[in-house]
Structure formats: C-alpha cells, structure tokens
C-alpha cells in the first residue's frame, strides 16, 4: 500500500481524466453519427498492434506501443472500407468482422508472447482491461499531449465536423471534402483509443467513447452543451473511478471507471428531464387516468389514420367539435394536448397528433380492445 502514495493516485486520476475528456468529446460526434460500433472495432483492433510493437522493440515503452495500436486500428478501418466497397457485406457486419479478426489475432499473438521465456513480456495482458496504477509521469504527459492535440483539431474543425455529423451530404454539396473529414475523424477516434490503452484497456475503451455521449444526449437538446457535458461525464467517471479504486483495496481501476460511468448513464437514462424514463412514466401516469377523458386525442388519431402517408395532415376545430359531445371544451383539450406534447397545430387553425400522441393513442386503443388498433 505504501507504493500507492499520492503520486500514483495523482497520475492515475490525471490520466483517467484526460481519457474521459477526450473520449467523451469525440464520442459525442461518434454517437451522433451512429458510429458507436466503429469505436468498439477500433479499440479491439489495437491489440495485435500492441503485440507486434512489443515483438519488434522487445519493450513496453509507451510510444512504440501506442504507435502499434494506432496503426492496427487504422488498418482495421481500411480493411472495413475495402470489404464494404468490394463486396456486398454491409458496413456494420464488416466492422464486426474486422473487430473479431483483429482482436482474435491480438489474443493469439499475446499467447505466443507469454510463452516466451524472457521476463519483459510480463504484464502485456494488462492492455486488455488496463492497469492504470502503473501509469508514470511520462505516460501521462504523452496522453495529455495527444489529448490536447485531438481536442484542438475538434475545436478548429468544429463546424465542419458538426456538419459531417448532422448532414454529410449537405456538407459535400457545400464543397467540403466529406470523405477526408471522415478519415480525419476516424484518426481522432484512434488517438482516443491510444490514450485509453493503459487506463481502461482495449476491451473497455468503447464504453468510454459511447457511454458519456449517450448520457449527455439525455440531458440536453443542444450540440455544444452535449459535447461539453459528455466530456465532463468522462472526466468525472475517470477521476471518480481512479479515486474509488485507490480507496477500496483490490479494485481494478479500468473496470471501476467504467462502472462509475455506467452508473451515471443509468441515472441519466432514468432521471433526465423530458427524455428520461421516469419523466415518461410520470407523464404517462398523468395521461393514463385521463386517456378516456382525452377523446379529442383519439379523434385526432382516428382522423390522421385517414391520411397514413401524411402524418402532419391537420384537421380543424369544426370537425373535432362535430365529433365531440355538445358543450365539450375542444379548444382547451387541444391546448392541454399540446402542452403535453401529444398534439400540435400545423397551421391554418388545423391540428394533428404528434408522433408521441399517435403512439399514446395506439396504446390506449390496444388497452381498450386488447388487440392491434
């Protein structure tokens, strides 16, 4: 325990924090581009690169290992592109194949290396789940430089990468080299993986990329805040996990970081305002007893079913009044539905159910009829 003095904890916390910030920020872009699997494939694919780097240099010095991991990750993305362009294999399957092949190769190489008599190989398997406690000052400096560089690129190319994430085709129509931007972004993800090698390892790395973004998306409807929140969640989990694992004996750092992160994600999925499950339950709870009292929503839904191709086809107050019993306050009911996000005005005094409204109406129908609407 003497070895785990302040210095170690400081290094571990700093390294994990850097990883959290970079993975969280980059992960937001990857998450919005539906590239979560890319992060997973990239990190798993790093393993054979680590093994080959060790075989070539005979040591575990950070730079060659990181370089090997980066090259292997990059090769994996090239392989995926080649498979997708030369065959009919879909993108996600190609990613899965690359992940399995590269990771499998890495495990084989690792086993071969461990059978060797020399002692230098000891601990190479720590790159699987990370061994943050062994982080040295030099490691952290390299991680910090890489992290600063990738966050710098992110800041400079902010609007280009945002365009790529939201509507790459439109970006291309503006004359942006979308393919090269895509390649650059993949490179940034590779760097994030490299930063995480010593801390959480190749297996848990994808969680560091995907999970903060998933939680941040629950908490905001704006882009820049999402990236910042994701980075902050990454930092909090990194530092929190590091501290926790140093306080509790025998707790491995990498997995602890991921567990702290998972707790945050779970809390966000459940408790986030508007998007969280609890919020939905509460709102549905409010809805449930009044569902029968919301005939206006059911009428709107019934009317909208007449126009299955035009979900926004609206209907006027007059129609809804005709359908409702005399004296019913249709206008107030509509206002109430709008406030709950179940119906919306579509112009010209016309109203239509929202997607949520349609879903709730269908659910009510199913409850009433016990079958499909």
């Amino acid at each position: 325990m003497d070895l785990l003095g302040d210095y170690t904890l400081r290094m571990v916390a700093l390294g994990s924090g850097i990883l959290g910030a970079v993975a969280g920020a980059l992960g937001s872009f990857a998450y919005l581009r539906r590239q979560s699997l890319v992060a997973d494939a990239l990190s798993h694919a790093a393993l054979p690169g680590i093994a080959v780097a060790f075989l070539l240099t005979g040591s575990k010095t950070p730079l060659p290992i990181m370089l090997g991991a980066a090259v292997a990750g990059w090769l994996a993305t090239l392989a995926v592109r080649l498979v997708v362009s030369r065959s009919r294999v879909p993108y996600d399957s190609a990613l899965g194949m690359a992940l399995a092949v590269f990771f499998g190769l890495g495990l084989v190489l690792l086993t071969v290396i461990q059978k060797r008599p020399d002692a230098a190989q000891a601990g190479l398997e720590s790159f699987l789940f990370g061994q943050a406690a062994s982080l040295l000052r030099d490691d952290v400096i390299v991680m910090g430089l890489l992290g600063a560089a990738s966050l710098g690129v992110l800041a400079v190319l902010w609007k280009e990468l945002k365009l790529l994430a939201f509507d790459g085709e439109f970006g291309a129509s503006l004359g942006r080299p979308v393919r090269r931007l895509d390649g650059l972004f993949t490179l940034l993800l590779v760097i994030a993986v490299v930063i995480g090698l010593r801390t959480v390892g190749v297996v848990l790395m994808s969680a560091m990329v995907v999970a903060p973004a998933a939680a941040a998306r629950q908490l905001t409807d704006r882009f820049a805040p999402m990236v910042v929140i994701a980075a902050a969640i990454g930092v909090v989990s990194g530092v929190g996990g590091a501290v926790l694992s140093s306080v509790v004996p025998h707790l491995p750092t990498g997995p602890t970081i991921v567990l702290v992160l998972s707790a945050i994600v779970l809390a966000a999925l459940l408790g986030a305002p508007r998007r969280g499950l609890v919020w939905r339950w509460v709102r549905l709870g409010r809805l449930q007893p009044s569902a029968a009292l919301d005939p206006v929503l059911m009428h709107l839904y019934a009317l909208s079913r007449q126009h299955p191709d035009e979900p926004d086809h609206g209907h006027g107050l007059a129609v809804l009044r005709t359908m409702s019993p005399a004296g019913a306050d249709v206008e107030r009911a509509l206002g109430d539905l709008e406030a709950r996000g179940l119906a919306q005005p579509v112009g010209d005094g016309l109203w239509a159910p929202t997607a949520i409204g349609r879903r709730e109406a269908e659910r009510t129908l199913r409850r009433q009829t016990g079958g499909e609407p």
Binding site: K159, F166, E169, A172, S173, G175, R176, R222, V346, D348
Partner: protein, 255 residues
C-alpha cells in the same frame, strides 16, 4: 425563351450505376436560366440520383455537368441543395436557427465561425418560410412540414442561382406546400433556376414551367404544355420492366 443565353444547367450523357445496375442511363438535360422544372418519374427512375449525380454526391460512370457554361465544381455556391427530409437524423441535438445557419458555412470557409451576420441571414431565410417563431425550437420537436421549411430556409440562405430540391412536398401539410410553392415562384421570378424532384403528377402544370420525364433514361424534357402529354407519361410510367431489361443487356455487353 431566348435560345442564345447560356443555360443554367447542362447535363450530358450522365450515366450512374449502383452495383452494375444502371440507375441513370445517358441522360441529357438543359435547364435555361430562371426555369422552374419538375423531375417526374416512377419509383426507382433515378430522380434523386440525377440530382445527387449532378451535384457530384454520387459517382457517375460517365457524363458531364456544366453550370452556366463551366464544368461544375462543388463549393462555388452555384447550386443550393435541399435533400430529402426523411434521410436526415432529426433527433440531432440542435435547433432550427442552427440548422439554417449551416447554409452559410459554404461562404465562411474552413475556420471562421458563423457570427451575427450569418445568424441574421438565417433569420431572414426563416422569415421567408414563416418559421421565425420556431428559431429556438429543437429540431426533434418539429412536424414534417416544419422540417421541410427549415431545409428550404437552409438552401435560401446560400443565395445560390440554382436550387435543387428532392421531394420537398413529400408528406407535408397543405400550408407548407403553399409556402414552398410561393418561395419557388418568387425565386424563379428573380431569375433563379429551380429544379424539383416531384411525385405528384396532378400539380405539375400548376407549379412548374417545364418538366423532365425520367425513367432511367430521359424520356422527354421541355415546357410543360409541350412535354407533359399522355403519350409521354405512358412512356415514362409504363413498360418500366422492358426498359430496364434492355438496359441491363446493354451494360452486360459493354463490360
């Protein structure tokens, strides 16, 4: 119209294939300046592909695209593109004004951020499509018609001389359809050229000056009252299987 003016858009011998299937075959098209043209054809006729290939968004096997007499190069701000609404990720965390401001990115270059001037232009475009009051609304909370107006505003911000719209009337409410038609009329009145992939045959004569009838090949193109005939429509919408089989055979021979 005056035939000696340089056309806004010329497409020559444009051929596009997806995994060896021809999607567009040897399409020629000339669109005069200020024209309001509908691109009409059955599903799978290559309407969207024509727009994307003209913009260089999908690779062409062969063909040439000229804009105002010059070979087309993206990034000169000559063509503003409105993609299909359904192809976008509307759960993206951003608001209406931000999406419209993306239309100014082309003129901003790589490293400049949009500032007050860009946002003002975006607001003006939002005003044109009657969406001003929604500028801070998250795009996830928009109706289909509102989404379409936002995409149109994003194209208007570019002040491009040519606009290409892919199915802007698909699944929108009547007020939105009227608003879009009004904007297109105004644009063509200003001498801008508008090319619209359109699926509703009935409204073609009302909304457009000219029409391209497309079914993998260009069946015919020109002023609506000359080209939009029953015979041409039958050629375009009937006998599709035969045309494809014929083309497939031609491609096989060419390989």
């Amino acid at each position: 119209m005056d035939g000696n003016r340089t056309p806004a858009l010329e497409v020559e011998d444009l051929t596009v294939a997806y995994s060896d299937q021809p999607v567009l075959w040897d399409v020629d098209l000339t669109v005069p300046v200020g024209d309001k043209m509908a691109v009409v054809g059955p599903n799978g006729a290559g309407k969207s592909t024509l727009v994307k290939a003209a913009l260089g968004l999908v690779p062409a096997v062969a063909g040439e695209v000229r804009v105002f007499g010059r070979p087309f190069v993206r990034g000169r701000g000559e063509i503003a593109y409105v993609p299909q609404r359904a192809g976008l990720e509307w759960d993206f965390p951003t608001d209406v004004l931000d999406v419209v401001t993306m239309g100014t990115y082309g003129g901003l270059g790589w490293f400049r951020r949009p500032g007050k001037a860009e946002r003002e232009r975006a607001r003006a475009a939002l005003d044109e499509v009657a969406m001003s009051e929604f500028e801070r609304r998250p795009i996830a909370q928009l109706s289909g018609g509102q989404q379409q107006r936002v995409l149109l505003a994003r194209a208007l911000v570019q002040s491009a001389p040519i606009l290409m719209l892919d199915e802007p009337f698909q699944g929108v409410d009547a007020p939105t359809e009227r608003a879009i038609v009004a904007v297109l009329d105004r644009l063509s009145g200003e001498g801008r050229t508008v090319i619209v992939v359109h699926h509703d045959l009935q409204t073609v004569p009302e909304y457009f000056d000219s029409v391209l009838l497309l079914n993998v090949r260009a069946i015919d193109a020109g002023p609506v009252d000359e080209v939009f005939t029953e015979d041409n429509l039958r050629l375009t919408f009937g006998g599709r299987v035969g045309v494809l089989a014929q083309l497939a055979a031609t491609v096989d021979r060419a390989r």
